[in-house]
Symmetry: C2
Subunit: 346 residues, 2 copies
């Protein structure tokens, strides 16, 4: 049986499938060539899962919220079928530890042993571009394995986290009452990528102020075409992205108390409604294509750089670096020199 076949059994109750899945995810994270090969084999089976990004500032309770959502997908109201769910928890704020610290995962007792759930924590290892690439690949593996909903949870509040969240079809931005002025400033930027806004910890004082502030900001902000930036975010896009088809989607502001489960069914309903909106407007395909283009261009940039790295003579490069450190040449002049020196077109 091929890896691809094994993986595609992973959502069933085949322990072999889960084991193959876990092994493949590790290979991908380790840049093992077998992982890359399997990704090529699996790619034709992707494109069906609903990718849901969950992002927001630290302390908003995102992980608890995702855990609750997963539970609801697994235990739907009578008459509805449970959905298989994967979670990719990205922790780019821990660049050195090499392992994700997500105590919340341990508390997911209700989900332990459920073959319809798979949770993967990813730690940043050295480069954001690498993390974004690995996250895209892991998401594709879950998609090909047949998981119907994939949460991509980013711990953090910076632009890189926003970029990773934009891998998703549906982006949920989580806020909480009373996180101070600085957080207000952040919201202004992050609001514009939100398909659904959640004020979690809605049992805390100040929730009305937070909801009112978010409403005000939503009304203030003119509707803008949603743009995609790149994994690693180094590059401008080659082709323009078509502006979003004017649809009927109005970003809802929902209140939840994740620790109690309050408001979680309503949030799940909004996620399902957003998917239907994407499908009827053609936005599903557009976001899918933009995501793939971003991934492609990040791979191209990586391969171009690696090619250059193989061609440049280390002794020559070291000499250029010495001259740069002595301020004999500027960084731009040094770049010119090492590109010409390795035979690149200027």
């Amino acid at each position: 049986m091929s890896i691809a076949e094994s993986i595609r059994m992973a959502t069933g109750d085949s322990p072999g499938g889960r084991l193959a899945l876990a092994r493949l995810l590790s290979q991908i994270e380790d840049d093992d060539p077998r992982g890359l090969e399997a990704l090529n084999d699996l790619f034709p089976y992707t494109g069906r899962a609903h990718l849901v990004g969950v992002t927001g500032a630290p302390g908003t309770g995102k992980s608890s919220l995702v855990n609750r959502l997963v539970y609801h997908y697994r235990h739907p109201p009578t008459g509805e079928a449970p959905r298989s769910v994967a979670v990719v928890a990205v922790d780019p704020s821990s660049p050195f530890t090499g392992g994700a610290i997500l105590g919340d995962r341990v508390r997911m007792r209700d989900l332990a042993g459920d073959p319809g759930v798979f949770i993967r924590s990813m730690a940043a290892r050295g480069s954001l571009g690498g993390l974004a690439r690995a996250t895209a690949s892991v998401t594709q593996v879950f998609d090909a394995a047949g998981f119907e909903v994939i949460f991509i949870e980013t711990v953090g509040a910076g632009q890189a986290e926003v970029d990773i969240a934009q891998l998703a079809h549906t982006t949920i931005v989580v806020e909480a009452p009373g996180l101070g002025d600085e957080v207000q400033a952040i919201k202004a930027g992050i609001l514009e990528i939100a398909d659904i806004l959640v004020v979690n910890k809605a049992d805390r004082p100040g929730v009305e102020n937070t909801v009112r502030a978010l409403k005000g900001m939503l009304e203030l902000g003119a509707p803008q075409p949603r743009t995609f930036r790149h994994h690693g975010a180094l590059l401008e896009s080659l082709l323009e992205t078509k502006p979003e088809v004017p649809g009927t989607w109005t970003t809802p502001i929902l209140r939840t108390v994740a620790t109690e489960g309050d408001g979680v069914p309503e949030l799940l309903e909004a996620i399902v409604r957003h998917r239907a909106h994407l499908e009827t407007t053609g936005e599903w395909q557009r976001r899918d294509r933009a995501r793939l283009q971003a991934e492609l261009e990040a791979l191209v940039a990586q391969r171009l750089f690696e090619g250059w790295r193989r061609r440049v003579a280390p002794a020559y490069y070291r000499e250029i670096l010495d001259r740069l450190a002595r301020r004999a040449i500027s960084p731009h002049q040094a770049a010119e020199a090492v590109l010409v020196g390795s035979g690149e077109a200027a």
Copy 2:
């Protein structure tokens, strides 16, 4: 008078110098070719300023702390000379607004009109790589203009912000009491880049717990060589970075109340002491070189990608994207195809 000569008058009380400086910074942010030319001219005059990165989670009061530090540099104890100070405030959390939202700046009345202070807020515009490049360039302009201390303040808590903070010789990580469990997890990663730890808002409840937690984490973490990642963080470094010379630096944990100014003189003293440590151990030169190498490699990657973009035929690229979106080929296969199709070495 050349641009370079004008700029180098900017720290004096020449209004013309300040005007030339402001104009050059705008040219750099706008990718104006004149900005690039001036950067090449100015680069030989860089390398003297003390670059101090200030980073931490939202809500910790970083901006207020930087404002206080600037004030102390300008108003030193009797007998000491005031230092000229520039601040580069990076706001990558606002990718869409195009303008930085930093209310705190408005409150800096004490510093308004002081020719020895220059503050520049930078907003993210489209790509983190672009922001990191512009920040590096702006820092170089301030350095060449003769500013003795340059603060690089990053609003955010993600890895990209950490990368930008690592432009600095000295990195200050700011924490505050009671920001919750999720922040604790973040600290684990960010602690290892801190040369100085500050618990701001030290008049709040929970400060003892925060200090104790930080101490515990510092003791737990084995000393590791400090590594540099790249602007845009897409790439692995070509040359290994030498491990840090084992010195005598022990990361201090300081308490401040920025709004009252408490603890700020002690923080300033630690910054000065860290600079002396860097100089006596040779670490100053090592960090300078690592920073320049990172900048050079980001420029190389950018130019390689732009070169490819000029060479690839749009119709061919569009066809490959269509096949990718149909899942007829994988992202890696698509990258291979567009690189071969534009005549790149495979």
